[in-house]
């Protein structure tokens, strides 16, 4: 039996240098912005559909936007931090896990950006159209 190669070398995983990014951090970086947008859309639609006319409704909508945008910003910053962490070494020296983290966190940046746009468009509608019955 040849012992020339580490059996893990064949499939590259797992490498011996941990990335330092936990699975929950990675998950939040990837999906945080999307989840914020989803909640904003469903909650905003429900409030606008059933509560407009109530004086507090418009403030609930503004509040929803603030909370959602905060979560989006946090997800974006987390993703940015993961990308920076994963790319601190030159490309040839990175482990496959670092490549993976960079890939997933880059996706998080895009998803957070899209979430930001959709939430902001929705808030513009609240400001322009108002929340009257």
């Amino acid at each position: 039996m040849s012992q020339a190669r580490n059996p893990y070398e064949i499939h590259d995983y797992p490498s011996r240098r941990p990335t330092g990014v936990g699975p929950w951090t990675l998950a939040f970086a990837l999906f945080g912005g999307t989840i914020a947008w989803t909640v904003h859309l469903i909650a905003g639609y429900s409030v606008a559909n059933y509560m407009c006319g109530d004086a507090v409704a418009v403030w609930i909508l503004h509040g929803l936007t603030v909370v959602a945008l905060t979560v989006v910003a946090l997800a974006f910053l987390t993703a940015l931090r993961v990308v920076r962490h994963a790319t601190r070494l030159p490309k040839g020296e990175r482990t496959p896990e670092e490549d993976r983290d960079q890939f997933l966190a880059s996706g998080g940046l895009l998803l957070a950006g899209l979430g930001f746009m959709a939430i902001t468009f929705g808030e513009v509608a609240v400001v322009v159209a108002g929340c009257t019955p």
Partner: protein, 838 residues
């Protein structure tokens, strides 16, 4: 030739394992993804030709004003069946077929995760298609549109069996689509070649993965919508009936929560096909790979925030629809990212202008036009102007023909050499492309103008002198050109299959793993499963150090029908599993289901029940004996790949993953049901309706106690199995735990039957009654299935091997049982406590 450890050449040994010699087995018992993939594609293409013929009848009718070729009733039937056929029986199954064929090859494995489920899904699709087309034989053809809006399709305005055919066929087909989606998700997540980490997955795989997830989350909504419609039509319930407190808008919500993502269900794998074709024929990896991959995910997610943009003109307030208008604009961004990536790739590539590539180019042009008109109708005021006009018909044909049919044709031309072993004729392919491309644009571009001129859709004729005559005539002429193109393409395929030039393994010198197999591939796909080191293994992995070959698992894995499973993110190998043998059970199960559906249509319920019982019995046979576990292989794959776990049970088992995604789709079904409850309640003046008393709480409290206790005892059963990974489980304790769960489950069902029996209102009293019985009844049905599963599991403890690794059924059944318990807690809080304002 590599020698097998079984004393014969590897190819012979593997062929004997992966192929049955009898022809009848090939036809009726095959579980080979390639045979089933081809069947899907051929069947779907036949439906495409039928649907296209129906379109020709419509265009003939509309070619001149006041034409009498088709009467209004016939026209309604034809446009209903055209839309239904193209969406349900061509587009989705065709993409499913391509994915079924290509997926395992591109993943570097030997079959899909659940081969028998794959066969079952195909048979159900076929029988569902035959079922809905028998409506022509009995002159009861669906006529309410492929969108089946209520109240038009409800019991008051749609007499006869036509829409019953439609609802039952869609419910029937949904089983097939869901099964295929679960199969794709589990296969892509767990059966990628070692090393094919998420950042190295081909873009086609991303597209199929996104499609499958979108199906799992969107389809339950359609299933529920059609089920409620069937109940309204057959049993007099009031879900959509305003006179009984129901809400017709509920249909539109449920339908479009599925209907809009459906566009992306079709689009996402199509985008993947385009990426594949562009990569191979521009001979360059798609630029901005991470962005294109994530754009595909983003489109799948945003697709769920768009459904109300089909309802802008239903009278909803401006602000609520503005949220959906915003999301509709946003989705243009990831779509645009993909378009720019392909254009840039082509710009910098060494393009081979093959027919496949031409169809990809045609896609880009038409899809951009469809996308731009999509952004136009995302604007609420514009949508109000063109809603239900031919502008919308033009828009969605640009999206669906441009966005789906062109990529499908690109894919067929691209993979034809792999599937048949022969090349198509380039001249015919180019001819077909130009005829189809020009014919399509001549047919549909004028329809934008017709819509702006005010021509409504779904009219069987129009008066002379409205300014529509010329555009309609041009549109019909375009159809003829388009049809000629299809004929040329079909001729090209049929001729090339017999006489085309031999293709060789990799005629395109493409990048992905399917081209590492012979054309057509062997039954076992790969004699040695490949190991992947890059995103384009056929280009970058075949280095001189590896002798110009792909890296591979040396062991041919030929002790049985063996595959390697890998981890979700990193594709690190984690087990060797055995996939099932060919079987007639999927065919018989699909036939039993067909009997049940046909009997439901003609309201012979005892036969329907018999069909369902037969189906249950066949499923029990199907699941009775799992394939034997692969022999211990730790460190045995020639010291190359370390496999620490070879069990078929536990978290590594594919069955566990299948159950998880089944539960996901079930959870969405219940979520849709609960949302429907709130929507109808929100539009009611009083609740419960019609002076019905609030439900009592004593019985629900007892039911809750029973279900919580039964869940605890199932947890106990689970512990007996999972706590004994390396030894036989204590069977006495396991049986006791299962018996307790079974008894508590039966007690729950008996008490709920008592509650139903003594109820002072029924499902047809009003919408409250309909929803109450629908929610609790659906849950009870799930409890019934759970009880049967526990009984079946209990029975297996006496008859099936007790070795560790053989008991994946107990944790899976427990998972299902816990899910049903959690659903009950939600129902308790919404239907019993929520109605009191608690």
């Amino acid at each position: 030739m590599t020698a097998s450890t079984h004393g014969q050449p590897v190819s012979e040994r593997l062929s004997s394992l992966w192929e049955r010699p009898r022809v009848i087995d090939h036809i009726f018992a095959t579980v080979d993804h390639k045979r089933l993939g081809v069947r899907y594609m051929v069947t779907a293409f036949v439906f495409f030709l039928v649907g296209g013929t129906l379109a020709g009848m419509m265009r003939t009718q509309l070619a001149v004003p006041e034409n009498q070729f088709l009467g209004p009733e016939s026209y309604n039937r034809i446009f209903t069946m055209h839309g239904t056929t193209m969406i349900f029986y061509f587009a989705t199954p065709m993409l499913t077929g391509i994915a079924t064929y290509i997926l395992p090859l591109m993943l570097g494995t030997r079959d899909l995760a659940f081969p028998r489920l794959n066969a079952f899904a195909y048979w159900v699709f076929l029988f569902s298609g035959l079922f809905i087309y028998t409506s022509f034989l009995v002159d009861e053809v669906p006529d309410g549109g492929w969108f089946a809006y209520v109240p038009l399709t409800g019991p008051n305005y749609s007499q006869g069996l036509g829409m019953d055919f439609w609802t039952l066929a869609i419910l029937f087909l949904g089983i097939s689509t869901t099964a295929a989606a679960i199969n794709f998700v589990v296969t892509i997540l767990r059966m990628r070649a070692p090393g094919m980490a998420v950042q190295r997955m081909p873009l086609f795989l991303w597209g199929v993965l996104d499609m499958a997830f979108t199906i799992l989350i969107a389809l339950p909504s359609l299933t529920l919508a059609t089920l409620l419609l069937a109940l309204d039509r057959t049993f007099g319930t009031h879900f959509y009936d305003p006179a009984g407190g129901g809400n017709p808008l509920l249909w539109q919500h449920l339908f479009w929560i599925w209907g809009h993502p459906e566009v992306y269900i079709l689009l996402l794998p199509s985008l993947g096909i385009i990426s594949t074709v562009v990569t191979a024929h521009a001979r360059r990896e798609v630029v901005m790979y991470p962005l294109v991959a994530v754009a595909s995910v983003a489109i799948g997610i945003l697709a769920f925030g768009l459904w109300v943009h089909h309802m802008f003109s239903t009278g909803l307030d401006l602000l609520p629809i503005s949220f959906f208008s915003a999301a509709s604009f946003t989705i243009a961004i990831p779509s645009g990212i993909s378009i720019f990536a392909w254009v840039t790739t082509i710009y910098g590539g060494r393009v081979r202008f093959s027919p496949a590539f031409m169809f990809a180019l045609g896609f880009i042009v038409t899809f951009v036009i469809g996308g731009v008109s999509g952004v136009m109708v995302a604007m609420v005021p514009f949508d109000w102007q063109v809603h239900d006009s031919y502008f919308v018909v033009a828009h969605f044909h640009y999206v669906l023909v441009g966005g789906v049919v062109f990529p499908v044709f690109a894919g067929l031309y691209h993979w034809f050499p792999k599937i048949t072993g022969r090349m198509t004729v380039p001249t015919l392919g180019h001819g077909a492309f130009w005829l189809i491309f020009l014919g399509f644009n001549i047919t549909f571009f004028p329809q934008h103008i017709l819509g702006l001129l005010g021509m409504p859709r779904r009219v069987y004729t129009y008066a002379e002198g409205l300014g529509w005559d010329t555009y309609n005539a041009i549109s019909t002429a375009g159809y003829v050109v388009l049809g000629l193109g299809i004929i040329v393409m079909v001729f090209d395929f049929l001729w090339s299959m017999q006489r085309g030039e031999e293709a060789g393994d990799d005629p395109w010198e493409a990048d992905s793993l399917e081209w590492a197999t012979p054309s057509p591939p062997e039954p076992y796909n790969f004699a040695h499963l490949p190991i992947v080191h890059s995103r384009t293994p056929m280009w970058l992995d075949r280095t001189p150090e590896r002798g110009g070959q792909l890296d591979r698992i040396e062991d041919p894995m030929d002790d049985g029908r063996e595959v390697v499973t890998t981890s979700v993110l990193d594709a690190a190998p984690d087990a060797v599993l055995r996939v099932p043998e060919p079987s007639y059970v999927p065919l018989f199960a699909a036939l039993a289901l067909t009997v049940a559906v046909v009997a439901m249509l003609v309201e012979v319920y005892p036969v329907s029940v018999a069909g369902i019982v037969g189906l249950g019995a066949l499923l029990a046979v199907w699941l009775w004996r799992s394939p034997a576990p692969a022999p211990e292989r730790v460190n045995q794959i020639r010291d190359r790949v370390h496999l620490p776990d070879v069990r078929i049970a536990g978290p590594h088992s594919l069955g566990r993953w299948g159950m998880i995604f089944f539960i996901v789709t079930e959870a969405v079904l219940f979520g849709s049901l609960i949302s429907s409850y709130f929507l109808v309640r929100g539009s009611a003046d009083e609740w419960p309706l019609g002076g019905i008393a609030e439900p009592e709480l004593i019985l629900p409290a007892i039911l809750t106690a029973l279900i919580v206790l039964s869940s605890a005892s199932m947890f106990w059963a689970q512990r007996q199995v999972e706590g004994s990974a390396d030894r036989n489980p204590p069977l006495g304790m396991l049986r006791l735990a299962l018996v307790v769960s079974l008894a508590l489950g039966i007690a729950f069902l008996s008490l709920q039957a008592y509650e139903f029996h003594r109820s002072e209102f029924g499902p047809s009293t009003n919408a409250y009654g309909s929803l109450f019985f629908m929610i609790t009844g659906t849950h009870a049905a799930h409890m019934g299935v759970g009880v049967l599963l526990i009984g079946w599991t209990l029975l297996r403890t006496w008859f099936v091997s007790h070795e560790p690794g053989q008991r994946s059924d107990v944790p899976n059944v427990a998972l299902y049982w816990h899910f049903v318990g959690v659903v009950w807690l939600v129902i308790l809080s919404v239907v019993y406590l929520g109605v009191r304002g608690l």
